[in-house]
């Protein structure tokens, strides 16, 4: 996979690039601020996945996601993985709002805390999930989002088991991994997932049901 990395802290930037290359990915370019990121995105549409920090120079606010949202509008097939120091939901939500729900737009979306990069296997899994058009959200962010949301909407109809399955789907786990984590048989997991799709009225939807279910789960 060809990956672009935007991160202002040199240590992290080099570290991320090194880890990606060790795992057989090509780091097409690395940039250290949002201006260069935009310039890079403007000239060369040569990547499959963008990994971007939230807070970068020049404004040190949410330059990363802003550039990512622009990129999504122009090239919806490029996956976007945001790295952040914050559990803060507004970045995650603004980005999730752009997540594609049509089958012809397979660009994935991810939101991970920066230290997740240190869990190399998890990080690489997340990179590959997003690169393949999936959604991968940091478990801590999910916990935070769940904590502050008042219950409402179709999610109320889900049972506890179904919620657990959906939370693991949001982290980007595959059916097999979910089965392992929850000590279910793969058939049970599939039954739960199909129940989730039914309850969220996604069965007849043309988009990626998995992504849509996760988005529904994370949506405010």
């Amino acid at each position: 996979m060809r990956i672009g990395v935007a991160e202002d802290v040199a240590l992290l930037r080099e570290g991320i690039a090194a880890i990606l290359e060790q795992h057989g990915h090509i780091v097409a370019w690395t940039v250290e601020d949002a201006d260069r990121l935009r310039a890079q995105l403007g000239t060369a549409d040569d990547i499959d996945l963008l990994i971007a920090d939230v807070r970068m120079p020049p404004h040190n606010t949410d330059d990363g996601p802003r550039a990512a949202v622009d990129l999504r509008a122009r090239r919806p097939t490029v996956g976007i993985l945001i790295l952040s120091q914050h559990l803060g939901n507004e970045y995650a939500r603004s980005l999730l709002a752009t997540a594609p729900d049509a089958p012809d737009a397979p660009g994935g979306t991810g939101y991970q805390l920066k230290e997740r990069v240190g869990r190399v296997a998890d990080f690489i899994h997340s990179v590959e999930t997003v690169g393949a058009g999936g959604v991968s959200i940091d478990p801590k962010v999910i916990a935070h989002l769940m904590q502050e949301r008042a219950d409402h909407g179709p999610l109320d109809t889900l049972g506890d088991r179904e919620r657990e399955v959906l939370a693991l789907m949001a982290e980007g786990q595959t059916n097999e991994q979910i089965a392992q984590t929850l000590h279910f048989s793969p058939a049970t997991v599939e039954r739960h997932i199909s129940a989730i799709f039914t309850k969220l009225a996604l069965n007849t939807h043309p988009g990626n049901k998995r992504v849509l279910a996760v988005l529904e789960y994370l949506r405010d």
Partner: protein, 414 residues
């Protein structure tokens, strides 16, 4: 802090003649005499007298500056003319009529000043000029005395100088007493109080704002400094672990578990720092305002909590931050000390004030002496310029009401 309060004139009885005060007093009295001219005209056209007295008062409020005194506070906004629509209100206000009184008194002072200048001035000039008269060959007669010798005449000159000093004292006394009575009559107490309230409100908002800026700076410093380094450390530890696991030499179980422990510690440090940062300045507060942030605070509270808040416009950021901190401290206190099973927060606002009421069903007995939380709350309320009412009898319940007046809510925005 600088109040526009009149400076006291504690001047040396002789030294005063070395200052500009005598000249200023003369200018004050003379200009006063001239300003009395129109008053006589308007006395004849008395229905228009109030209008003239308002104009004259406006001049008088500034004219005291001739004596190096602070400007006299003018009427409050609602009584200020122009605009003309405030004229009826001014006419019915006590201030409006005090101004008419002050105008009549001004006329009296002008008459006194006029007499002082005409008689005093004539006498002084005549006495001082006495020695010059014999030179012109004329005789100078004062009652039964005839002055025909320069030596005797000098005596009169001396008398003239003495009279001049007395005259100047009299002018200064007249000027200062006129200024003081004018201040009492046409100075608007409401206005001067309002001005102080505005200023104090501005100052406390500025102070709260300074705290808020400081929090923001701490948050930014934490983000740009330690958090980045810790994240980088976590990354290196992770890479090291994969390298160790992948290396041919086996097993490294002891090293690996130490490494894993270090890695976990770094992650915990990041978690703790994140929690501290979000306590500093919750994003929800910044983005969605006080009511939303309070609801979030209640949702996170280990003690079940209900927030009743009506929609109202956003307040100034420092005020919101301060009220949020108060709420956050109340929740912490309730958790630590009260043993409550339920907390209720009510936020109501009217045109005059904002009222934030917290109540818990705990064991009560809260006071500022036995816990630091309440001292913190008290301090914040004080800085805000609000009022705090605490009822917490032993056995509970505890009810804390915070009132913030409208002048503070909009203080700096005005």
């Amino acid at each position: 802090m600088s109040f526009s309060r009149p400076r006291s004139h504690r001047v040396h009885p002789v030294g005063v003649f070395g200052t500009s005060l005598p000249w200023r007093a003369i200018a004050y009295v003379l200009s006063g005499i001239m300003l009395a001219g129109p008053t006589i005209v308007f006395l004849a056209a008395f229905p228009l007298l109030p209008a003239w007295s308002w104009c004259l008062s406006a001049v008088e409020r500034q004219r005291v500056r001739l004596l190096r005194l602070g400007t006299i506070p003018g009427p409050p906004d609602g009584l200020r003319v122009p605009p003309l629509r405030n004229a009826p209100a001014r006419l019915y206000s006590s201030l409006g009529w005090r101004e008419v009184g002050a105008t009549l008194l001004h006329l009296l002072y002008a008459a006194l000043g006029y007499a002082l200048f005409v008689f005093g001035g004539t006498a002084i000039i005549t006495l001082i000029a006495a020695p010059l008269l014999p030179l012109t060959g004329q005789k100078y007669v004062v009652g039964e005395w005839q002055i025909d010798q320069p030596a005797t005449a000098l005596l009169f000159t001396l008398l003239g100088v003495l009279l001049l000093i007395v005259f100047l004292y009299a002018v200064m006394l007249l000027a200062v007493s006129q200024a003081a009575t004018t201040r009492v009559l046409i100075g608007s107490k409401i206005e001067s109080l309002e001005r102080q309230v505005d200023m104090l409100a501005g100052e406390s908002v500025a102070l709260v704002e300074a705290f808020e800026d400081e929090r923001r700076r701490i948050e930014r410093d934490l983000h740009d400094g330690p958090q980045q380094h810790l994240a980088a450390a976590a990354l290196h530890l992770g890479v090291l672990r994969t390298q160790l696991t992948a290396s041919a030499r086996t097993p490294h179980s002891a090293e690996l578990s130490t490494l894993e422990a270090a890695h976990l510690e770094v992650e915990h440090a990041l978690d703790a720092m994140r929690a501290a940062v979000s306590g500093l300045r919750p994003r929800l507060l910044v983005e969605d305002g006080l009511a939303a942030a309070l609801a979030e605070l209640a949702a996170r509270s280990p003690i079940p909590a209900v927030v009743e808040a009506h929609t109202f416009p956003r307040l100034q950021a420092p005020v919101e931050a301060s009220l949020y901190s108060i709420a956050s401290e109340f929740f912490t206190n309730a958790l630590k000390h009260s043993g409550a099973a339920c907390i209720t927060v009510a936020l109501t606002s009217s045109a005059q004030e904002l009222r934030l009421t917290f109540s818990d069903d705990g064991r009560g007995g809260a006071n500022a002496e036995n816990g630091t939380g309440l001292v913190g709350i008290e301090h914040r309320v004080e800085l805000l310029g609000g009022a705090m009412l605490l009822s917490s009898p032993r056995g509970g319940p505890t009810v804390l009401t915070i009132q913030v007046p409208e002048s503070i809510l909009n203080g700096a925005a005005r």
